[in-house]
Symmetry: none
Subunit: 410 residues, 2 copies
Amino acid sequence: MAYLERIEGLVKDRAAWPKEDMSLVLLVLDGVGDVRHPDFGMQTPLERAETPNLDALALRSAMGRIMPVDYGITPGSGPAHLGLFGYDPREVEIGRGVLESLGLNMDLKFGDLAARCNFCTLEGGVITDRRAGRPATEESRKLCKLLQEKITGIEDVDVIIQPGMGHRFAVVFRGPGMEEGVCDTDPHENAEPLHEAVASHPGAEKAARIVDEFQSRALEVLKGREPMNAILVRGIAERPDIDSVTDRFGLNAGAIATYPMYRGLAKLVGMNVIETGTSIEDEFNTYRDTRKDYDYHFIHVKGTDEAGEDGDFDHKVNVIQSVDSRLGMILDQAPDVLAITGDHSTPCCMKLHSWHPVPLLLHSGRCDVSGGSRFTEHECTEKGTLGTFHAVHLISLMLANAALLDKYGA
Amino acid sequence: MAYLERIEGLVKDRAAWPKEDMSLVLLVLDGVGDVRHPDFGMQTPLERAETPNLDALALRSAMGRIMPVDYGITPGSGPAHLGLFGYDPREVEIGRGVLESLGLNMDLKFGDLAARCNFCTLEGGVITDRRAGRPATEESRKLCKLLQEKITGIEDVDVIIQPGMGHRFAVVFRGPGMEEGVCDTDPHENAEPLHEAVASHPGAEKAARIVDEFQSRALEVLKGREPMNAILVRGIAERPDIDSVTDRFGLNAGAIATYPMYRGLAKLVGMNVIETGTSIEDEFNTYRDTRKDYDYHFIHVKGTDEAGEDGDFDHKVNVIQSVDSRLGMILDQAPDVLAITGDHSTPCCMKLHSWHPVPLLLHSGRCDVSGGSRFTEHECTEKGTLGTFHAVHLISLMLANAALLDKYGA
């Protein structure tokens, strides 16, 4: 059933589009979903917030709830966004190294192998501190610079190093034949020696050799620099080889996000990352300014997730109200399809991502108006004519609402 | 993606559990689901019943509806329970012989082949009564005893016989190489001769030989004992080879049930069957007494199904009220996760199991409170933030609500 599971077979040629300046907008309020909990007055932040503009839009929209990955599954940001973009997160995996390097604003090309690394302390042949005494980011940054100066390549493979926070950094290996399938050199506990990089299949033997050589050279460079005298290489993964949204859905897509990781995720699926500022207002202005340049915009608002992770209910309410008060900036541009949802829930009572389905509002001139009067978790359930469905189907609904899909069969 | 369809890859190691004395409870009111029907005042038994304790719990719980197997599929007790336990009943099959022998309280080991049998009447080489004139259970019991005395084993295979009701009994064949794949010796109509046991594949040839020999010897033993002078062997099946709930979900599980079949089903998935009495009160006391011994309890209440099968609406209401009035016995033990549902519906107007989705109430400190005020079929639909979903996903939601699942992806 690939034909229907992947709807690309039905996407109309651009020549058959109903209009030229099509604008589909996916507005992601990261982690916006929440649950009613006695600690917070049995209301969710969306219920508590005053959202006159979302309310008015809800009256004219279809609503439902999105399950990010599957029942009971709490997604990381990678799988959660892939689903919204139309890639089944149960099929496409994004390795830790890839996500880390995207989060550090590194560019990833097909065939690249990315790893996240720790500085660590090695004494008498065993690890004594997997985090090297938690160095300041500045310390780490200096040593990354030194490593990069001394190690620019191994054999025919370029080595690209990027510092992160504290003891963490990322490495991208760029060269022919760097296949995924190399185990961590990190023993994952203290009092153990560094592991060798082992290939899990013959195709990954070159990659294992390069990673081992990288680790050996790093040890030479760091010799005597206790406590940061060694490194651990972890989560070695290649950029997933997936079609772009252009190939798959015929869309010329632009991404507006303030955090590198979300820009990176958008790049993975072939979106063009658009320069923007740091505020919601900046992001919405960027949409206005580039509305005609793209068929599809992904706009990412981070504040809701941060507030949820902090358990800061009032701040989550405030971020929602900030979005609401600026919603007109998007609506003024008359997008043909506007989907407002989250990538996952981040309930304030849990201070973590969760599995709970996320509210969805879908507005277009062809939507099945649900009859709800508020964009909340519970209206999206009780009135939600879209039901509760897997995130991967959202793109199909967006394309259908834009009249970009052909009829199936005669 | 077996990884997510079967969520075992995400189950946390016990060392990473948020607490030690975890208690997940699955309370199954067998056949509790019903439908609104004019013959019964257009109310379901759950709607008619006075359930102050369930109502109060509903106000603080997530609700939804469970589809036991699939749209329009009416399950037997086996598939219905497997689903609730986290085993997809569309993939795992339990043969009739296995279910019959479990229902007769027989122990089944891996590699055992179980069959259900009839006493029947053979005249002039053909079956004249497939039920041997429906003998009293006592008559049948005597002949089973005789058969067991005369036939204790065939070749290197033990033969274990257990009488059932009326003309029915069960046989377990225990020995090496007893593979599933033997057809019934029952011609399934009168005026036909007994069939030979035929192997459907070469691996089942030994089993076919043993079954044939069992039937021949039984005929010798029963010679002259008309009308019970022959037997039919049917539903020959082996114990399904499935992981235990411990292997699959990391749970140490105990089962509390008054009927052998449900205890047997629990044993199939590696639950420990706990001794209990015959009443709901006994069962709930058993939970209290063993709360600390298990991470997960399956508690089975049979009365709702019996009332449904009898079409006895008032009795079904009474059983529901009995459970409600004792619900505090469970709540007092503060289970971390409590799921209350049925294995299937047994509508009073049908007097049979049915395919109608079953109401579900899921309570935990992390649940998405649905805002319903009653645990009924219709509140579970209209307010149900969990939606209507396949039973096999219940275990994922229970584990998620107990914080026993890792995040998926970074």
